[in-house]
Structures are given as C-alpha cells and as structure tokens.
C-alpha cells in the first residue's frame, strides 16, 4: 500500500522533551488518527511533517518527495488546519483569501465559496470576531479549496462543541468518498478517532507506540478482567499493564490471542477503547 507521509528514524530533542526515533507511514486514501495525551509530541511531529521543524536525525518524505528539493511541490498538495488561528485576526475572510489564494497554483474560488456558504461564514467580518468553531470552519474551507491530496490537521476538534464536532467528522467522511484524499489528524479526544479513523497512530512521551488499522487494534488490544490468583510471573506476560484491586485484576493486553490461549474462559474479555489503551499505557510508564 502506498504511503503519503513517511517518517524514518526521526529524532528531535527539545528542552526537557524529545521525540525518539519515530518510524511512521501514513497510508494513502485513508483517515489516520494521531492520538496521544497533551504534550506527547503530536504537534511537534506534525510540524516536522510540514517542515516547520527540522528533525535532528532521520528523514521526512511527503508524497515520496524530500523537503530539501521539493518544498513547494509538496506544500502545493497539502491542506492544513491548526489548533490556533494562524490567520491575521484583524482581517476578514475576503482579505485572507486574497493573501492565501495566490499562493496556490490550483486554488479554486468556486470550492471556497461553496464551503463558505455551506458553513455559513461571513466574508466581511474580522476573524477575531469569529467563534472557535467558525475559525475552524474557515481554516477548513481554505484547506479544501486548492484540491489538496493530503489534509493535515492538528487538534481540529479541540474546543468545539459536541454537535459541531459531529458535523465536522461527518464532513471528513464525506470528503473521503473522493477517492484520492488522505487525511491525517491529531486529537486527544479519542472518541473522535474511534468514530472515523481507518488507522490509529498512537504516540506517548515522544515514542510511537503503534500505528495500526482500527481492525488490528480491535483484534490485538483488549481489557481483561479476572481473579487475582490467575496472575503469576508467566501469565502476566500476556499483559501490557495490570491493575490490581482486592476484588480482582483488570489488565490491558496487546496480544488478545495469547490471553485467550492462556486463560480460556477463566477471564472476562472486553473491547478496549482508545481511551482505555491510553489510560493503561500511561500507567505503565508511571510505574517504570
């Protein structure tokens, strides 16, 4: 399967934090959700994908091209939506369009006005008077108006109300009908990703824990509950993290098959949501 974004052995250190040798491939034609707690390294990774940050080691390729030699070609084909408003807040949408549109060879005014109407956005009102939701819609309208093949979004749903979040996710799904598009978006709101992502890339403390299809995640990860006497040094190997209570244990496994072979019917197995996975993996790091 073709990859649109490839990170190979990417390392980047900051004050008191570092991204450790990330290898990540984002598959063409799918929605990949990039999940992790606040401060896990999501924004920094996205900045490296956009060439806003340069990795200390390793390489970043987008559409199989290198930023060193093909920066403009790459960015021509990317639409971006960021968490904060990156547009001049004193300007209205019409002026912002006058600044952004000429940057793209394939800018399409019809598409832009289609989304402006659809999202009910005023074109003569200053951006600073927009609500958070409207700002996001405006960024999205701009990101969609130049026939981008890849949409990169950093926390697009943060700070949005639940209804609009839902609408936004529906819109993304609608966009995916158009075969060629790839969407990569980060979120710490895991239910958003449960709902629409085809692939989940999970990052924690600068480490990429996994990058799997949602089916693979469901096949491999599960919450297991049982009696404490089932646990010993050998059986615990089936788990990523175990939590004990007087009434029994609850654990996260990343190897469901092994759990089934080891415990059979002696344990209760439940579907692990992304939130469960995040929660248990967080615990594992705190213990070490």
């Amino acid at each position: 399967m073709e990859s649109v974004i490839e990170l190979k052995g990417v390392k980047k250190s900051f004050k008191g934090f570092y991204i450790d040798k990330i290898d990540l491939e984002v598959k063409k034609g799918f929605i990949t959700g990039f999940v992790g707690a606040n401060g896990a390294g999501k924004s920094s990774t996205i900045k490296m994908m956009m060439n806003l940050l340069k990795p200390d080691h390793g390489e970043v390729k987008v559409f199989g091209l290198d930023y060193k030699t093909h920066e403009k070609e790459i960015k021509e084909r990317i639409g971006f939506v960021y968490d904060g408003n990156v547009f001049y807040e004193g300007l209205n949408l019409k002026d912002i369009k006058r600044i952004v549109a000429p940057a793209y060879k394939s800018w399409d005014d019809d598409i832009f006005y289609y989304y402006i109407n659809r999202f009910d956005l005023p074109v003569n009102k200053a951006m600073k008077k927009f609500s958070k939701g409207m700002q996001m819609k405006a960024s999205l309208a701009i990101a969609l108006s130049h026939h981008a093949e890849l949409i990169i979004m950093d926390e697009p749903t943060a700070g949005l109300d639940p209804i609009f979040r839902r609408e936004f996710l529906d819109l993304l799904q609608e966009l995916m009908v158009d075969n060629n598009l790839t969407i990569f978006f980060s979120s710490h709101i895991t239910t958003d990703l449960d709902r629409i992502a085809d692939y989940i890339a999970f990052i924690q403390d600068g480490d990429l824990v996994f990058n799997q299809s949602t089916e693979e995640v469901a096949e491999n990860y599960a919450i297991v509950k049982g009696e404490l006497d089932l646990l010993d040094r050998d059986t615990e190997k089936a788990f990523v993290e175990v939590r004990r209570a007087s009434t029994g244990f609850e654990a996260l496994t990343d190897n469901l098959k092994l759990v089934e072979d080891t415990f059979g019917d002696a344990v209760v197995i439940e579907h692990a949501t992304l939130e469960d996975i995040m929660y248990y993996l967080k615990g594992r790091i705190q213990h070490v």
Partner: protein, 202 residues
C-alpha cells in the same frame, strides 16, 4: 513572491491612509528636514508588517503555504525597497505640493539611513521569538533618528575630523561610497536573515 509583497499592502491599506499621510503632512507643515521625513515615513510599512506578523502566527501560516523560507525573506527585503520607493515618491509629491524646498541629496540621505537601519534590525526579528520586538525596535529607532539629527546639525563641533573629511571629499565619491556602504550592508543583512530563518524552528 510578488504575492508575498502584495500581502503587506492588503494588510496595511487602512494604516497607510490613516497614519502615514497625516504623519507626512505633520512633518512637512512643521518644516522638518526632508531627509528626516523620508526616514521616518519609510519606517512605517516594514515595521508595521513585523508588528502584524508578531501578533498572528504568520510564520506558521507562510511556511505552511507553498513558499520557501528563502522566498519569504527575499519578499521582506525586496518589499521594503519597493514600499520605500512608493513612500518616498509620495513624500516628494507632498513636498512639492506644499512648496517646501528639498534636494535629491536629502532624499537619498534619508533613504540610505532608512535602509541601514532596516539592515541592522531585520535580522533581530528572525533571531528572537516573537513578543514585543516591534516596540523595542521602534523605540531604538526614535533614539537613532533624534540623536542622528543632533549629531548632523552639530557635526562641526562634535566630530571635526569627520566633517573635514566630508568637506574635502568630492560629492561623487561621497555619494558612490555612501551608496556602496548602504547596498553592501543591506545585502549582508539579507543573507544573514536567510541563514537565520532557514535554521529557525517555528
């Protein structure tokens, strides 16, 4: 690249009409030296642009669009010259309209000082994180402009060797030398900003 230069005009159209023209008129009516008028008026557009860029996350926006960092810097340096020429043209028109005498040397001197000042301060904006740099730079500018005027008016007393040198050197050599210094400083500053900006984390 032209789009990036045009960006400043879109951003600052209101500002231009409401501030620059009244400012120019004020200076002209109060009989300021033409070189000083040119210097002060030229400062507005580029530094106001930096001021806007500091408030918004413009560096992230521009670098996410299909522009290279080299182009972003080049547009700032070329744009500054383009807007300076426009504003200087405007100032000359106003001076003529108000019947105030001025020489080409005054205009060249003001423009040269402005370019030197721009060359010395632009890299600062690319070295430091955005914050309140614009205000700092404008304050430094005011000190620079006022002290510059005092020094020039009293140059005979303060720096006799310099004034002797200026008097004893032919005008052509003086102008050519001045122009060479200004252009060299500006180009070196451009190169420095490009190198700094290309290494910068956004």
């Amino acid at each position: 690249m032209f789009n990036l230069i045009r960006r400043d005009a879109i951003l600052q159209k209101k500002f231009l009409l409401t501030l620059i023209i009244p400012f120019a008129l004020f200076f002209i009516i109060t009989d300021s030296h033409p070189a000083l008028i040119v210097l002060v008026i030229s400062i507005f557009i580029p530094f106001n642009a930096f001021y806007y860029d500091e408030k918004a996350e413009t560096n992230i926006l521009l670098n996410s669009l299909p522009y290279t960092r080299k182009e972003i810097i080049a547009s700032r340096y070329l744009g500054t010259v383009v807007y300076m020429l426009l504003v200087v043209g405007l100032t000359c028109l106003l001076l003529v309209a108000f019947n105030k005498p001025f020489t080409l040397a005054d205009i060249a001197f003001g423009s040269g000082l402005f370019l030197i000042y721009a060359a010395l301060t632009f890299p600062i904006f690319y070295i430091f994180k955005p914050g309140n740099l614009t205000i700092v730079v404008i304050v430094i500018f005011l000190v620079f402009a006022v002290s510059g005027q005092i020094i020039i008016q009293n140059i005979d007393r303060l720096l006799p060797t310099v004034s002797d040198f200026i008097i004893n050197t032919s005008n052509t050599v003086l102008y050519m030398g001045g122009a060479a210094i200004v252009i060299t400083t500006y180009i070196l500053s451009w190169i420095a900003s490009t190198i700094i900006y290309q290494r910068k984390s956004l």
